[in-house]
Amino acid sequence: MRPTVGVVVFPGSNCDRDADYSFEYLGADTKFLWHLETDLDGIDVIVLPGGFAYGDYLRTGAMAAYSPVMDSVRRFAAAGKPVIGICNGFQVLCEAGLLPGALRRNSGLRFRCMPVRIRVETLESPFTSGGMWPGQVLTIPIAHFDGSYYAGDETLEELLAERRIAFRYCDAEGELTPESNPNGSRLHIAGILNPERNVLGMMPHPERAVDPAVGGTDGRLILNSLLYSLQPAET
């Protein structure tokens, strides 16, 4: 079965084509969903791609969180289907209340585009269950100005207790050194899951690390894991 990946396009999204390219590269069917679209029939995965929805004006993701498509995405997620928000998409998920916390300006106060290392913190999610081991270090690019994850202490404790941190910034050895945190995120958080574990938000761009001609290939692990999770279980 070829799963169908719905790539949401907000006004100002700019990694929509990249997500489309990479999922197709990995063998999925894809469909663009303009933000006014509310019909998600036939869609197996929702991707909220990176970019600058509404120019990132006011606050990243703030206006996009109110796009008509987001109500449908909420229902889609509530039905247990997988949603992945990448970069700007992560920001939208937080603003829309699908994930806790918020993304603030990088602590260095500059946009950063670079490959970073992230550590796989849990295998319990469709995004991390296939072909990864706990503590595995992946190299994935980031490209953001507002990627500093913030949540209050209580929320952080909850995330830890429920093992809902999917990825943390680390060094080549998997250590959480201060230099390895590119944006000042609390607990080095690079990606988190919702309580039901079917919604992932992450700042790094796995879709930029799929085609070896233009980047690494570690992003495939995440996207492939997601695609495998949709295959009917073999009996």
Binding site: L58, R59, A62, M63, Y66, C94, E95, P100, G101, A102, R104, R105, S107, G108, L109, Y150, A151, G152, G184
Partner: protein, 83 residues
């Protein structure tokens, strides 16, 4: 009726404000001593049209809460004056 709304949106007190800190560190370097506790937030001004002040306040406050400020990281103060 029209009302002028002034909204101050500041990072919440318990949250560190790297932008404010950077400004604070830069100031002495360019000759300004004695400035501390710098915090940088947003100021948003707009006009609300509503039947009366109460209605205007409801609109403005709820726009602030829902869109203009993010309660996870920001506090806001709203001021409303008839125009």
């Amino acid at each position: 009726m029209k009302f002028a709304a002034h909204l101050n949106v500041m990072p919440r007190a318990e949250i560190s404000d790297p932008q404010g800190q950077t400004v604070e560190r830069t100031l002495p370097a360019i000759g300004f001593e004695g400035i501390t506790g710098v915090r940088v937030g947003k100021r948003i001004t707009f006009t609300v049209e509503a039947p009366d002040e109460n209605a205007a306040r409801t609109i403005a406050a709820s726009a602030s809460e829902k869109l203009l400020a993010n309660p996870v990281i920001e506090d806001f103060e709203l001021e409303l004056n008839p125009l």
